[in-house]
């Protein structure tokens, strides 16, 4: 008998995750590939104000195993039923209907993988070369102290026991007993009674200044390409994260404009491409209208940022300046970012020069040419924040 049976050994089975190292390495390669296309991915995905545990499907390239293979014009053989007729469709492109070699054929140009938003944001921070300390601020929302102490109670939880007041009330009770029963005065134990226990009381307070709204305004003329959208989105995202760290209740408004402005969803905001002229003033007017209706500055901290490539109609400039002044009056912080990637050419006018006429200390213009500019210009932008007492 030449046959050997080797029994199952749970101990080796538990130790035998042999592909762990290769899986890890594969995962790293996937991440590398994602990092490589981070600009495309961020520009395409809705990330602002989304749940960070959300899983998104990301198309990746570069982790395929290439070989010499035949292209799509190659016929194959399959097995059908008696009714199979020429011209019958048996499968879609790659996956269905292939003969056994279908796996060797090249699939679609990329395959998808799941990444959590958290990972994606982390990679974006890396790509933008954000300092580590700042990353932490932007990632974690600081919990504000909303509990306030308000008086004392006889009932409460152990942790809030006020020892000093408890001791005092015991002494009071002891004195009272001594007064009432002066003759019984003799040294004896006088323990704490449960009536002595005094607890601190706290109440939850809703702080008004925890409301903030971020108004993102973007020029959606046709010239805003993927790279510009990535830069704009990164900037808006940082702003949103920053505002989230300071305020508890943050809302976000997207306004897209060309010659007219409208409020849109995040998805539409970044994917909308329209042609036609640009009236910057229309975007500002729309922002003012929304702020007036829903986010009155007496209750809300308002952050307004506008991204454009700076090509405004001459005739609109005075109106834009006027509107910008009004926005600056209601906003904590108002920014204008001009996105002109290197090499795109400085055609048309730059609004930055024009906006220099606006004298408001909470207004800031930034020019973004490369992704490296984002973080410095973001910091510069924040330094202009106006302390708002009236909103508190």
């Amino acid at each position: 008998m030449d046959t050997v049976f080797r029994t199952y050994d749970p101990a080796t089975a538990q130790r035998s995750d042999r592909s762990a190292g290769d899986r890890l390495r594969h995962r790293e390669k996937v991440h590398e590939a994602i990092r490589h296309n981070i600009a495309d991915i961020i520009a395409e995905e809705s990330i602002i104000g989304k749940d960070r545990d959300r899983i998104i499907k990301v198309p990746i390239r570069g982790v395929k195993e290439y070989r010499f293979v035949y292209g799509e014009n190659v016929p194959g053989v399959g097995q059908g039923g008696p009714g199979t007729q020429p011209g019958q469709v048996i499968g879609k492109g790659e996956e269905g209907g292939g003969a056994q070699q279908a796996g060797d054929r090249p699939g679609v140009d990329y395959y998808e993988t799941d990444v959590s938003l958290e990972e994606l944001i982390e990679m974006m921070f890396e790509d933008l070369e954000l300092p580590f300390l700042e990353r932490k601020h932007l990632r974690q929302m600081e919990v504000e102290h909303l509990y306030k102490r308000r008086g004392y109670r006889k009932k409460g939880i152990r942790i809030r026991l006020d020892k000093r007041r408890t001791a005092i009330s015991r002494v009071k009770r002891k004195k009272a007993v001594q007064r009432a029963d002066a003759f019984a005065l003799r040294p004896q134990r006088f323990p704490f009674h449960k009536d002595d226990l005094t607890y601190r009381h706290t109440v939850t307070e809703i702080r008004r200044e925890s409301n903030a709204v971020v108004v993102c305004i973007m020029d959606t003329s046709g010239s805003m390409d993927t790279m510009k959208r990535y830069l704009a989105r990164s900037f808006f995202f940082l702003l949103y994260r920053f505002v989230c760290t300071k305020y508890q209740n943050v809302e976000i408004v997207f306004i897209a404009h060309h010659t007219e402005a409208s409020e849109v969803s995040e998805d539409a905001f970044f994917h909308k491409g329209e042609s036609g002229g640009t009236f910057i003033s229309s975007g500002y007017r729309k922002a003012l209208e929304i702020i007036d209706q829903r986010y009155h500055p007496s209750l809300w901290n308002v952050y307004v940022f506008h991204c454009s490539d700076g090509d405004n109609f001459e005739s609109d400039n005075p109106a834009a300046l006027q509107a910008a002044k009004e926005v600056a009056e209601v906003a904590n912080l108002f920014g204008y970012g001009e996105i002109k990637p290197l090499g795109s050419g400085y055609y048309g006018s730059s609004m930055i020069q024009f906006f220099s006429q606006l004298e408001a200390d909470n207004f800031q213009t930034v020019q973004i040419q490369r992704k490296e500019d984002i973080w410095p210009s973001f910091k510069g932008f924040l330094s202009r924040e106006r302390a708002r007492e009236d909103a508190a």
Binding site: F5, Y8, Q79, I90, G93, G98
Partner: protein, 477 residues
């Protein structure tokens, strides 16, 4: 979960199965079975069943893919996994029922017999399989751990080598000629052939062969050629190329005999189990499982199904030839049994189908040819009229290594510039260009200089030349 069987039970079943297999004339290597769980099974599948294998990220990728498919129930695990070594090693999943174990054991003996006796496996040196793979793994790990090399560099070479590993000789039963033999043959060929009428013919001119040409004859083993002709490769790089090449050579016979091998094993597990007189419950489960494995795959080819059909057809035609068979193939000198044992020794998938897949069989199996049109797979031909011939030809091209384009190195000093020139032997099937570009990039990486591939694109002869990080496509006029 406790297993539904004991080792003693398996051993007693195995004894009966082995006796049946021997009585049918199967001649397997000694066999080892290892009981494993599904997680280990996935691991073995990813590493081709090898107990020891070198690491590479592609195996991790494959594992994740298999595990996802398995976890979501898209695909089950195979019942059996057996590797071609002496002794042959097979894995049995402990969660399977006793019947599945019995079925698997019988099936494994079929594969084992095929490994030992089919001619394509002669080159694999089964007695050293495990040790070879272990040695490969140790060497690759040593390079990864070597501080002067490290993972990144090893991976670069392995990525490139994996891309090219199947560009090697397919028929390993033909011995590769040595350099001396090639020189000899070149001289021989250039010598004018003997002419019995030389006294009246003009003497033919002697053209001296170019013996400095490298390679003398077009070379199919791309990795080995680069290993031997790129002087800038380090020893460890050469070794990695050798390792990947050897592994590919080990697996080529299995690619080349997939349909025969699966058909053979299924043919025998059926016959062995039929002799075992299974208790009724097991018999019913056996029928169910057997039909599951052997059901034709709609729109594709199930190698188990196609294989067993052809084997059974051969046996029937030799045992009970119909008058038509007699007319077409002549009188029979062998019994069906003798014939199939002969076929299992001397054929590979391509020749097996060419010789033994008959017109009737093609019609019975409803084989058809499909072609992709505008993103859809569309049936192009069904087996009516004379179309069966075309379908058979297409099938032959799509089995075994037929799906790997034949690409040979023709000149290592193209344009006197140490450019590597390769030619794709175009048989009507174009290369996928994106893949060709990426693969040429890898080739460029290990060759170190420009590489040029001659092929045809949409009927036009073209050159794909890769250098300086980009691909140029030049049509030839």
């Amino acid at each position: 979960m406790p297993a539904s069987f004991t080792i003693e039970e398996l051993e007693s079943w195995n004894e009966r199965i082995f006796a049946a297999a021997r009585s049918f004339g199967l001649d397997p290597y000694p066999q080892e079975f290892e009981i494993c769980d599904h997680e280990q099974m996935l691991g073995y599948m990813v590493y081709s069943g090898m107990p020891s294998h070198y690491p590479h990220w592609s195996y991790g990728k494959n594992f994740e893919k298999l595990k996802t498919l398995y976890d979501y129930g898209v695909s089950g695990l195979p019942y059996e996994m057996v590797i071609n070594s002496n002794p042959a090693i097979a894995y049995l999943m402990r969660d399977n029922s006793l019947l599945l174990q019995v079925l698997t054991i019988a099936h494994v003996f079929g594969h084992n017999d095929f490994f030992k006796n089919n001619f394509t496996f002669n080159s694999t040196r089964a007695e050293f399989t495990i040790e070879t793979f272990k040695a490969h793994a140790d060497r690759v790990r040593a390079y990864v751990e070597d501080p002067s090399i490290g993972l990144e560099k090893v991976e670069r070479i392995l990525d490139a080598a994996h891309a090219l590993s199947l560009q090697c000789r397919r028929n390993l039963a033909i011995r590769k000629q040595t350099l001396e033999e090639a020189l000899e043959r070149r001289l021989e060929e250039s010598r004018p052939s003997a002419d019995p009428f030389q006294s009246i013919h003009r003497r033919r001119e002697y053209i001296a062969p170019d013996l400095n040409r490298v390679p003398l004859y077009p070379e199919e083993d791309i990795l080995l050629f680069i290993r031997d002709h790129n002087p800038h490769l380090g020893d460890w790089e050469k070794d990695l190329l050798t390792i990947v090449h050897e592994e590919a050579q080990y697996f080529i016979p299995q690619m080349e005999t997939k349909i025969m091998n699966e058909g053979w094993a299924s043919f025998w597990h059926k016959r062995i189990l039929d002799t075992l007189e299974l208790p009724q419950g097991m018999q019913i489960e056996f029928m169910v499982r057997h039909n599951q494995v052997l059901s034709p795959a709609r729109g594709a080819i199930n190698p188990y199904h196609l294989g067993i059909k052809i084997w059974e057809d051969i046996e029937r035609r030799w045992d009970h030839p119909t008058p038509d068979d007699e007319r077409e193939f002549g009188p029979r000198s062998k019994s069906g049994r003798e014939k199939i044992f002969e076929v299992r020794e001397v054929e590979r998938d391509a020749s097996f189908i060419r010789r033994y897949l008959t017109e009737d069989m093609i019609r019975e199996l409803n084989l058809f040819e499909y072609q992709s049109r505008g993103g859809d797979q569309v049936v192009a031909r069904v087996a009516d009229g004379d179309n069966w011939r075309a379908i058979k030809e297409t099938l032959i091209r799509n089995v075994g290594t037929g799906t790997v384009p034949v690409i040979k190195i023709e000149d290592a000093d193209y344009n006197n510039n140490r450019v590597l020139f390769l030619r794709h032997h175009h048989d009507g099937r174009d290369l996928q260009l994106e893949y060709a570009e990426k693969t040429l990039r890898y080739l460029h990486l290990i060759w170190g200089r420009e590489v040029v591939l001659g092929t045809e694109i949409n009927g036009k002869p073209s050159l794909l030349s890769f250098s300086d990080d980009k691909l140029l496509i030049k049509p030839i006029h």
